[in-house]
């Protein structure tokens, strides 16, 4: 197992004492198979117990450990040391306020996520005693990809539109709405349209595509958003040019 001396430069910010964030560098001898999170844990345990960051699963599924690594939004538990040079810069996810060190305030995202009604609004109610809804594998495939989002918010950090227009509901939240819209069991699309087809919704997106490039779970939010635009456009033409056609 090879080891390398790596300079880990971490953005530090303590709201109680600092006016501005500063960069602090730590030298860590890292095993080549480590991820950046391992290096942070090493620092926390051995060099500086005050360093603060979030993490839990260490297997890229809980979505806690999103941070900017060399300027790119990444999961620290899936950013392999061997892919980096001897100096790694770690900062909190951009576009989110910094609470402390690598910890950001994500309430804005949580509120937006909740606002799109991300739950099944059944097309037809079914009592438990009737068993499960029938859903063919091909129907499952229509939305499966969008269920894989771990809410890590890397896409929000990558999306310049969210940075410029903070009201933008953003990639992950709209993708989860799309996920339910595409579900054969769901009938709640028009409820969600009220929110996601608004100006702060999908129309803030100009298909930069950065969200999909950084998404660690290949959710492809960019794709979801364009599909929502297409569907909303068809809705619009239908409502305005053919008002007699029922929704």
């Amino acid at each position: 197992m090879s080891e390398r001396q790596i300079q880990i430069e971490v953005l530090r910010y303590n709201p109680e004492t600092d006016i501005e964030p500063t960069i602090q560098a730590y030298t860590v001898s890292c095993l080549n198979e480590w991820v950046v999170l391992d290096a942070l844990n090493y620092i926390k345990d051995n060099l500086d117990a005050t360093l603060s960051y979030r993490w839990s699963c260490h297997m890229a599924v809980c979505g806690s450990c999103g941070m900017m690594i060399n300027g790119e939004p990444k999961l620290a538990c899936k950013a392999f040391i061997h892919e980096y040079s001897d100096r790694i810069r770690v900062e909190p996810l951009v576009h989110f306020p910094i609470k402390r060190d690598l910890i950001t305030d994500i309430e804005d995202f949580i509120a937006k996520f909740a606002s799109v009604k991300p739950y099944l609004i059944p097309k037809e109610k079914r009592p438990i005693s009737d068993g499960e809804y029938q859903q063919k594998p091909e129907d499952l495939l229509k939305f499966k990809q969008y269920t894989l989002c771990i809410n890590c918010m890397l896409c929000y950090s990558a999306c310049p539109k969210y940075g410029l227009v903070p009201e933008f509901i953003g990639p992950a939240a709209i993708s989860i709405a799309h996920r339910y819209n595409q579900d054969s069991r769901d009938g709640g699309r028009h409820h969600r349209q009220e929110i996601i087809a608004s100006s702060e919704g999908v129309w803030e997106c100009s298909f930069v595509g950065a969200c999909s490039e950084v998404c660690p779970k290949h959710v492809d939010p960019a794709g979801a958003l364009q599909q929502v635009k297409l569907a909303s456009t068809i809705d619009w033409y239908r409502e305005h040019l053919m008002p007699w056609v029922k929704k």
């Binding site: 303590n14 004492t17 839990s56 599924v61 806690s64 609470k99 009604k117 499952l140 939305f143 269920t147």
Partner: protein
């Protein structure tokens, strides 16, 4: 100190906590529900569960079958009335999740698909590819957003239960982002704070699984039950401990030693079954305890492969083919490639047993009620005793649902029937005490011990003394060591005095929880002088139903090791018998 008034407080927003919250919200819109969690709900470790959730749904299966598999798998330490209830409710809960949108994998005809799991005679595990827990958690979290009465307190760390005169009246919790301590006044409290696998160095558990919930109840006088039973999962990645689900074997993966032999046949799980045609309840589909123990024996015989990460055996899935692996085990493939640089489609994957699950936990009865009035528990932190001495894979996710709901219903019944007459002054004083304890910890300026130092020693001693195979001697040593560590813990001091997001403080609190749990593990283990399920002693190799067909109860003591008591196992219809995974029997 701020007081937050609520009807029912839930500690933990993993699968069990969310299921409880939704039950409460549906039962009565007017209930004030406080859902308290130290991480945002979707970060809870339920998200890591891969394989699936068991419940009888197909016509070739039966409740009796699920019952037998579970009780036998648990080496007859399960409370059979609880198991019966669990099994009866299981299908209902899984269907309910389906109705909430859980993306279960499907058969061609549109019905929910099931896969085989270890120790089961019939395929009955519902799965959503190999991200079952992830989908369950997210479905529950998203569904919970429907209910405005569920008030979430995300990133609040529960500190102490507030109890007076034998009844629980709420808790104190630290608002992590501000460092302030809040007093939650509640008519009932449900603990759903997950497991404690982080006591061990090599584990599939996430950083948050530090036994806080167990410790909360334990310190409030509620016993921890059957803590000696720690499940090792046979197939973890050797470098990180990341789990490769039992589904790998369920779909047909095989285990071989360094000579290419399917060694499980040498440990009572043979005869060998054809490669790629797994037979239920035998060979690779034996139960976890047996498989992990077989590894240990292979290691003793020198049949394991020595790698840079220690001794391993090999998991061979190549014969499944790329298509099936992508469809059924995409996450496993992704994890192996990312974290080990090996692709199960073409490589043999080295694996070794890894600490995975705590069978033991907060003692509850079949209603999810603890002996402390007003306190309930569900999920991995609880021990209703459906898992006995060894949990069957995929029973736990279902347990979260069944007993999460059960705990909620019991809590409602409790606040309706039992008046809430706490002594205000006494309760406030207790809350103040809790606050002072934390402030003292933060402000203490000089300490001779470090958190990481004590943690490391704790992990080491558990590994040495309470691993797959144990002896009286190793366990006694571990007991002493942990008693010493608990004592030394009082000499730690924090470097971080910041209020906002003081993660060092959290680590200190978590370490104390783990030490409490670890001591229970070691002491309970030392006193159980038999081998049963996941608790295997080299000095008492046989199961001893005369003396130990009993649950161990550990009672907390602030300074000394816990007091141990025993409780009879509830047996309704299945007398202890032989656990047979030879595949010979029909």
């Amino acid at each position: 100190m701020d007081i937050i008034q609520t009807d029912i407080a839930i500690i933990g927003a993993g699968g069990a906590g969310l299921r409880a919250a939704i039950t409460l919200a549906e039962a009565n819109q007017k209930l004030r529900i406080a859902l308290i969690s130290k991480v945002y709900p979707m970060r809870s470790h339920t998200c890591a569960a891969e394989g699936g959730a068991a419940g009888v749904s197909k016509s070739d299966d039966s409740l009796d079958c699920h019952f037998e598999d579970t009780v036998g798998g648990g080496d007859w330490l399960c409370d059979q009335d609880a198991v019966e209830y669990f099994i009866k409710e299981a299908p209902r809960e899984l269907i309910q999740l389906e109705h909430w949108g859980c993306p279960w994998s499907r058969e061609q005809d549109g019905s929910v698909a099931v896969r085989p799991f270890g120790g089961m005679k019939i395929k009955r595990t519902w799965f959503a590819a190999d991200k079952s827990g992830f989908h369950i958690l997210h479905t529950l979290f998203q569904t919970s957003l429907k209910y405005p009465s569920i008030q979430r307190f995300d990133e609040y760390y529960a500190l102490d239960l507030i109890e007076d005169d034998g009844r629980c009246y709420g808790l104190t919790a630290l608002e992590i982002c501000s460092g302030q301590i809040k007093h939650f006044e509640a008519g009932a409290v449900i603990i759903a704070a997950g497991g404690a696998g982080r006591m061990f160095q090599f584990t599939t558990n996430g950083a948050i699984k530090t036994g806080d919930g167990m410790s909360l109840a334990y310190r409030a006088g509620v016993p921890l039950k059957d803590m000696e039973f720690i499940q090792y999962h046979p197939t973890g990645l050797p470098n990180t401990g990341i789990l490769l689900t039992e589904g790998c074997r369920g779909e047909g993966g095989i285990l071989i030693n360094k000579d290419g032999r399917r060694y499980l046949q040498d440990y009572g799980m043979g005869p060998e079954t054809p490669v790629g045609k797994p037979a239920l309840k035998t060979m690779e589909l034996g139960p976890r305890d047996r498989l992990s123990q077989a590894f240990w024996h292979e290691q003793q015989k020198g049949n394991t492969l020595s790698t840079q990460w220690g001794d391993c055996v090999l998991l061979d899935m190549r014969h499944l083919g790329e298509k099936k692996i992508n469809e059924r085990l995409p996450f496993v493939r992704d994890l192996s490639i990312s974290y080990l640089g090996m692709d199960p489609v073409k490589d043999l994957i080295p694996i070794r047993p890894v600490v995975h699950y705590c069978m033991g936990g907060i003692h509850t009865d079949i209603n999810a009620a603890t002996p402390l009035l007003g306190l309930f528990a569900a999920g991995e932190c609880a021990c209703v005793s459906i898992n006995g001495a060894n949990r069957l894979g995929s029973n736990s996710l279902t347990e979260l649902l069944v007993f999460g709901r059960r705990a909620a219903m019991s809590a409602i019944a409790c606040i309706q029937s039992i008046p809430r007459l706490g002594n205000k002054a006494a309760l406030t004083a207790k809350a103040e005490d809790s606050q002072s304890r934390i402030l003292a910890l933060v402000h203490k300026s000089r300490g001779s011990e470090t958190i990481s130092g004590i943690r490391k020693e704790m992990m080491q001693t558990l590994e040495e003394g309470a691993g797959i195979y144990r002896t009286g001697e190793s366990l006694s040593k571990t007991c002493e060591k942990i008693a010493e560590l608990r004592h030394r813990y009082t000499s730690i001091a924090l470097n971080d005095k910041t209020k906002v997001f003081n993660t060092e403080l959290l680590q200190a609190l978590e370490l104390s929880s783990m030490l409490n749990c670890a001591e229970a593990v070691a002491v309970c283990g030392r006193d159980r002088k038999e081998s049963r399920g996941a608790h295997q002693r080299l000095d008492f190799t046989a199961r001893d139903d005369t003396n130990f067909l009993k649950h161990t109860l550990a009672y907390y003591h602030p300074k000394d090791p816990p007091r141990i008591e025993y409780l009879d196992v509830v047996i309704t219809k299945s007398r202890p018998g032989v656990r047979d995974y030879s595949g010979v029997r029909k």
